[in-house]
Every structure is written in C-alpha cells, then in structure tokens.
C-alpha cells in the first residue's frame, strides 16, 4: 500500500470516528437548540466535502458551493410550492438540477484555467441569487418559500443528515481510492504533465465539478425541509465564504478536513455569537492566516505535531 493510500485511509478512519462521536452526541446534548446547530454544521459539512472534491483535490476554484445548495433547496421548495409534491420526491430533483447546472457551467468554464473558474462561478452565484430574488411570480423572491417539514422533532433530521454525510464520505473515499482519485490529483498538481500522460483533464475536471455540485445540491435539499423556509440568502457569498473557511481551516485536500472544519467553525461561530457577533471576522482572519502560514489546516498541524512526538513516528507511519 502506497504512502498516499495509507494517508487517505487514516483520514477516512479519523473522519468516521468523529462522525461516530457526533452520532453519540444527542445522548449528552439534549438542548434542541444545540442539536439544531449540529444539523446545520452537517449541512455545511456536506457542502464543504463537495467543495473539497473539486477545489481541494482537483484544484478548480469553485466559488459557488452555496449557490448549488440554494439550487437544491429551491428544487424541493418550488416542487412543493407549485404542485404540492413531497420534499422526499424533491430531493432527487434538486440534486439533478444542481448536477445539471454544474454540468453546463463546467462544460463552459473548465476548459479554461486558473482564475477563470473562480471568476465565472462567483459571478454565476451572485447573479443566480439575483434572478431568484427578482422572479417574484415563480419563487416569491426575497420573501422565500415555505417548505413542509417531513419529521416531528429534531432528532430524525439529525440522524438523516448524519447518515447522508456518512454515505457521501464513504462514496468519496471509494472515489479517491479509485483511479479517478489519482487522475483528479494529477490534474490539480500539474495539468500539462497530466495531459501529456494521457489524462483527459477536461473530462475529469467536469466530472469532479458535477459530483461536487450534486453533493452541494443534496445538502440544500435536506436543509430545506429542516429549516421550513428557504430564501435566496442561502446562496449568499458569505455562505460560500463559510464553506471555504471550513475547508481551509480543517485541511484542504484531505478526507477529514471538511468535516472537522465544518463542525468546528460552525459550532464555534454559534458560541462566539453569544459573546458578540464577531465570528465571521475571526474566521476570515483565520482563512488568511491558515492559507498564508499553515497550508495543511488543523489536520496538517496535527500531523506535524504527531510526527515530532518521539516514538510516534512508527505508529504514525503504519496508521497514517
């Protein structure tokens, strides 16, 4: 087993341990409010995992994860608002809509390199939000749409969201272990070299972009019935900022970074909110500091620490 495969497995197992802890959390965390906070962090974790696939692993700077979540949520919301269709049926429609838009956008922009992807996705996200906000007759504009709930109480949502995060994580692990994972990282590390070795880079980039959009869309479809109300604010650039900060703080291009980052950043944000609304300033600063000085994020720092501990090197090498 190669070194990178070992690392991937360690990250994956680590993420499962953390998700198991989250599963046990309601035993001690009985506050409905804080259970809601964890549900929303899992919603962000899904987006962060999707974003990490296309940006962390494939190197394509997508600045629209929140917009794709908004697409998913509106898929559910519009079906139920106009035709009274159950949110359960809205989920596949929302995911397909996000994946479809991802495919079209990806086909246009992914043949280009560098900053073009970031520019286009950011413009797309802002303008889609504007269109939804202005199309009052279809979407009720900034008033938002009411979405019927599907469960009574918080815990069913909690475990549904958690189960989906676990399933997506398993799927992503399988994907990253396959040849596709290698292709994606080859594209990220050097497009020219990858192309010269026969990797069809545009095809792999587009595939990663579509899968990532679908995961973000899925997050939105699950969030809609939980929140009960969706509005164009879901697609705010600030929410994309949150997703980016979660992955950068947790560790970009790792299996575990997005999950750790989302749980830490969102719950820390809620705690900081009680002392004053400064959490967004803190996270923005952390993004800059991490990107500038600790590129591996928290996970990278932990690995660095583990490597420096005497006697831990051998176990570290075996496990990760």
């Amino acid at each position: 087993m190669g070194n990178s495969e070992r690392r991937l497995r360690a990250e994956f197992h680590g993420s499962l341990v953390i998700l198991a802890l989250v599963a046990a959390l309601p035993l001690v965390l009985t506050s409905v409010y804080w259970q809601g906070v964890v549900i929303v962090s899992l919603y962000y974790a899904l987006q962060a995992m999707g974003w990490n696939l296309v940006t962390g692993y494939t190197g394509q700077m997508n600045l629209a994860p929140a917009a794709f979540a908004m697409v998913g949520a509106y898929g559910v919301g519009l079906l139920s608002h106009h035709w009274g269709i159950s949110p359960w049926l809205g989920v596949p429609v929302g995911v397909a809509a996000a994946a479809g838009i991802g495919l079209v956008l990806g086909r246009i922009v992914l043949p280009l390199q560098g900053a073009y992807v970031a520019l286009t996705t950011l413009s797309f996200a802002e303008i889609l939000r504007l269109v939804i906000g202005n199309s009052y007759s279809v979407t009720r504009g900034d008033l938002g749409l009411n979405v019927p709930t599907v469960f009574d109480g918080r815990l069913p949502y909690y475990y549904l969201m958690l189960a989906v995060v676990v399933l997506v994580q398993i799927a992503l692990y399988a994907l990253m272990r396959s040849r596709m994972g290698l292709f994606l990282q080859a594209v990220r590390d050097d497009e020219v070299a990858a192309a010269s070795r026969g990797v069809s880079i545009v095809w792999w980039k587009t595939l990663a972009f579509v899968v990532s959009s679908a995961i973000c869309g899925l997050a939105g479809t699950l969030y809609a019935p939980f929140a009960g109300l969706i509005s164009p604010e879901l697609g705010l650039i600030l929410n994309t900022g949150l997703v980016v900060s979660m992955v950068v703080i947790g560790g970009m291009g790792t299996m575990i970074g997005p999950i750790v980052g989302a749980l830490l950043v969102y719950t820390a944000g809620e705690m900081l909110r009680e002392v004053g609304d400064y959490h967004l300033i803190v996270f923005a600063l952390l993004v800059i500091v991490f990107a500038r000085f600790f590129r591996g994020g928290i996970w990278g720092l932990l690995q660095l620490g583990a490597d420096r501990l005497p006697g831990r090197r051998e176990t570290g090498a075996r496990e990760g």
């Binding site: 940006t55 190197g59 700077m61 600045l63 246009i108 922009v109 043949p111 280009l112 390199q113 560098g114 900053a115 073009y116 970031a118 520019l119 286009t120 950011l122 413009s123 797309f124 802002e126 303008i127 504007l130 269109v131 202005n134 590390d189 050097d190 497009e191 020219v192 192309a195 880079i201 650039i237 600030l238 900022g241 980016v244 900060s245 950068v248 609304d277 400064y278 967004l280 300033i281 996270f283 923005a284 600063l285 993004v287 800059i288 990107a291 500038r292 590129r295």
Partner: protein
C-alpha cells in the same frame, strides 16, 4: 433621442466599470492572479469619502484624495503581506499559486466586509455630492451635476493611467514586468517593488471609483460585491491583462446594461454581464484584446 440618452448614460456608468477593471487587469498583468478583494477596496473608498465628509466635515475635495490614499495603502499592505509569497522564495508553491491567491484575497474580502459591518454598521450611508448643481443640460442630454463631475474626473484619471503607462519610465517598467518578470529583473527592475506599486495603484483606483460614486451607491458593507462581479466580466471581456481592453469592455458593458434595462428588463439588468461573460468564455476566451492563453 432615447438612443442618445441611453448611450450617454451607459458610457457614464461604463467609465466606472473601466476604472475598477483597470486595477484588476494591471494586477493580473503583473502577478497573473485575480484580486477577489477588489470590490472591498471600492467599498472602503466609498466609506472613507463619506464618513470623513459627513462625520468630520472635511471638504469633499480633500476627502476624495484621502479615499484614494486609504485604498492605495490597503493595496500596498495587501501586496506586501499576502502576495509576496507568490514570488519571493516560495518556489515550491508555484503549482498552488492560483488557489493561494484566490483563497487569501477571498478571505480578505470577507474580512473587510465583516469588519465594516461590525465597526461602522450594516446601514447604508449616502455620501455628499462634489458639486451642488442638480442638472446640467448638454445639448439634448440632461445629466446630474455630480455624476457629470465624477465621470469627468474618472475620464481624466483613465487618461492619466494611459499617459503614465506610455510616456513614463515607471510605466514602461510596469509593462516590462508584465511581459517578462525574469527579463525585467535582469534589466535592473525590482519586480517586487513594481508589484507593490501596482497593487497600491489598483487599490487607489478602486477607492477613487468608490468615492466618486458614494452619493449614488449608498455605501453598505457588501456594496463592492456586485461591482467586483461586473469588473470580472469586464476584465474577461477585455482580455485579462489588457488596460485598453478593460476600458473598451467597461464602456461596452455600461452601454449594454443601459440599453438592456430599457429594452429587455430593468429587474434583470445586472444579469446581462453574466450572459456576456458566458458568451465570451464560449467563443473568445482570450477576450477582445487579450493574447490567446496556453492551452492543453
């Protein structure tokens, strides 16, 4: 008459798109990165102009240069602290250059938006006008006095940028670094200093646009987000790195929006930029004036 009116209004908006886009395109030319905090430099300019004038009562003819200075200082600090790793001895980062620059400037954008939101507040501020004259008749076209003055200043500054790039040694140094960083440094030009100066100029230009538009845009913390999106469209349309392209594309977008708002839909006028962006990416990704990029 309507066509003339729409063209003039569109060109007057386009001047500000051009001002914003010139800064972005200059940075792209020098460092091959896009500054995602560019809209926030504009926002800071609008706030500096407005708050100095209204809260401290400083005359507008002093607060406008002050806004430019604050924007330039912000640009300079950004370059020195966050952009230096792109070229100063972090060669192993070469492959992650785009990602780093985007994430770090995007983080800076979020930081500035939230700082202003917390320190000054989320409420919009309206800046004072440069002159009192409400309406000016220019032959058949009627224009708002402040808007006319602001547009005039904008045109003068754009002309100044062209003259600077063309006729001064410093301007030629900027072009040299944009063409070949290593070659320029062999010829005795310090690319680091040029990068810092260009970032400062870019921040100053964005803040200048923000200050000039302060009475019109009602500055709020996120006022720069959409303006930045428009500048990206303009820079891609004009060709990344081309100053002339940025000006032509800026004026074009202004006119296109002004006509589209009347003939297509007012509510969706801000979406025309995206349509243009998508069309450019599909059919002419190098933009109107850009060089064809490397392709794999």
């Amino acid at each position: 008459m309507l066509y003339l009116d729409l063209t003039v209004t569109g060109l007057m908006t386009g001047v500000f798109y051009a001002l914003m886009a010139i800064g972005l395109t200059l940075i792209f030319g020098i460092l091959r990165v896009v500054n995602f905090a560019h809209g926030e430099f504009y926002m800071v300019g609008a706030y500096t102009y407005t708050l100095l004038s209204t809260a401290l009562g400083v005359p507008v003819w002093l607060t406008l240069p002050a806004a430019v200075l604050v924007g330039a200082a912000l640009g300079w600090v950004t370059e020195r602290t966050l952009m230096r790793p792109l070229y100063a001895g972090y060669s192993s980062w070469g492959l992650m250059k785009d990602e780093y620059a985007i994430i770090v400037t995007f983080g800076l954008s979020l930081l500035l938006i939230n700082l202003v939101d917390k320190v000054i507040g989320p409420y919009p501020y309206r800046g004072p006008e440069l002159i009192d004259t409400a309406r000016v008749h220019l032959g058949p076209v009627i224009a708002d006095g402040h808007r006319l003055m602001a547009t005039g200043l904008g045109v003068a500054v754009i002309a100044g940028v062209f003259a600077f790039m063309r006729f001064t040694v410093a301007g030629k140094q900027v072009q040299a670094v944009a063409q070949n960083r290593l070659g320029a440094s062999l010829a005795g030009i310090d690319p680091g200093r040029v990068s810092a100066a260009v970032f400062a100029a870019s921040g100053g230009l964005a803040a200048f646009a923000g200050g000039l538009l302060a009475p019109i845009i009602n500055a709020s913390p996120d006022v720069g987000v959409f303006t930045a999106v428009k500048s990206y469209v303009v820079v891609v349309l004009g060709g990344m790195g081309s100053v002339a392209g940025a000006v032509v594309a800026g004026l074009f977008l202004g006119v296109a929006e002004s006509f589209g708002a009347v003939f297509i839909s007012y509510g969706y006028r801000d979406t025309f930029g995206l349509v243009i962006l998508i069309l450019v990416l599909m059919f002419r990704p190098q933009g109107l004036f850009g060089e064809k990029g490397r392709s794999v």
